[in-house]
Symmetry: C2
Subunit: 315 residues, 2 copies
Amino acid sequence: MSDFPTRVHIKEEGPREGFQIESAAISTVDKIRLIDRLSDSGLRHIQVVSFVDPRRVPGMADAEAVVTGMVRCEGVSYTALWLNARGFQRAAAAGGLDLEGSLNLYASDAFLMRNQNRTPAQQYAAQPELIAMYQAAGVPVRRGFVSAAFGCNFEGDIPVARVVDRVGELLALASDHGETLGHVGLGDTMGWATPLTVKRVVGAVRDRFPDLRLSLHLHDTRGMGVANAWAGLEMGVDMFDAAVGGLGGCPFAGHKGAAGNLCTEDFVFLCDELGIETGVDLEALIDCARLAEEIVGHDLTGSVMRGGLLRRLRR
Amino acid sequence: MSDFPTRVHIKEEGPREGFQIESAAISTVDKIRLIDRLSDSGLRHIQVVSFVDPRRVPGMADAEAVVTGMVRCEGVSYTALWLNARGFQRAAAAGGLDLEGSLNLYASDAFLMRNQNRTPAQQYAAQPELIAMYQAAGVPVRRGFVSAAFGCNFEGDIPVARVVDRVGELLALASDHGETLGHVGLGDTMGWATPLTVKRVVGAVRDRFPDLRLSLHLHDTRGMGVANAWAGLEMGVDMFDAAVGGLGGCPFAGHKGAAGNLCTEDFVFLCDELGIETGVDLEALIDCARLAEEIVGHDLTGSVMRGGLLRRLRR
């Protein structure tokens, strides 16, 4: 077990990525209820909202109200997502958030063009402007992210070498501007990863950048979520994004109702069984998953919430 | 990838273990419809029914009618489950089945007592009678099975050494009576396994019996199904039980609606991505999963049936 981390950092994305994809409107009160409950579960990092164009994402129009209404817990980081300067300004003005600058490159040129209407060179060139914005606001640039690192609906399989190149570009962008990234995230944006590709990609990035901390953003679109997380743990990855109950869906899935992000409580169950510390009280987290299910009004895909814990059965 | 098998044998258990646990009655016609569709998917082994006491399991009272009604496909094995001589006699009389003798020991003494009201010595002593019955009927004894090999709701964690001992006892029972087991199955009867315990248990059995073929019977009760199957593949295991759509539930789960067996099509997706041959046409199998969902009248837990295939996206 020598490569396993002794503890993992989990970024809970249910309130943001999870609620964002729900077709039914989620009330501000319900969003705050879930965030507050998550704060009490032992999670140390919750991404609570995104500051995006309310005409395009009406469900996140109340981001400021959510941030104002939630109760901040000592020792928990509360972060938000934004896609441009306007979103960042709203996040900064909202107050009460742990602002963190992030750089983003794409391993799929086709997805980048479709999503941002940019070439790789244009996306690269856009990053220094972001860095300057963060620096002017006194916000540290801590995170790099490679989207579509494991495959792309518009381009197919992604060469591992391209992911390694993108990671190198992120590190160069940061250091060229006097910043040091705390970690780089690899995103399985469209649910293509398998444990084998997780091992290959993480291994290749590790080979080239042995001291870089990596995180994984995984989807369970094709049922590989937990298996991919396991492969990440085997490779020593100690940062994971996840969503309580398996919230999140997948806008790129073949059919309606596809599974969402890596399910937080199923992942915590795995870590508990492996003796890897997460800080999370699994029973409290399962209560959060049940609350999330009640709020969205349909079954979520998490398994441990129905299967039950082993802890009591061991007594 | 040197330990990965080049091909795996899948025993589809959806019609038997899956339908057996459904609370609503499944019609004989629907059972046959699913079996016939599965026969066309490329699966080479389908466990179609169980011959058990109809007073205790009314949903399997039509086992003979199912076997008579289904259309046997060249190259597909059709097997059944039974628990005693009476069940075996019914299976033999039904005709059209590939009869296979099986020996069964338990890694959990507490579960054995609860399930069969026997001590380990009594369960061991009961096996030669079974062997004699099979030999008298000219039915080969091909399979050994260790129940509760990864943990037990009534006993907790199971010592790895005990599983190794049970496997040794199965092999001894067979050879003492002139039989040679084709493989020994390890059952995660109550959904306790993690990829780590799969590796530990399979590794320990392999160490002691390097030439023995192993199979895994996995449940997804706590979301570990695919991850556990991956761990098995990494250890070179090339036989798996699975259920289309993730049918199967778990009578030992903490709450209603728990996930069922390892989901066949999610597992086939993983094998396809790894280049491991299963013989299965994944699109045809997904049609079977949709049919299974229609027949049981509620959502099943399989992911690929909603996430969609990658094959078309690669074109």
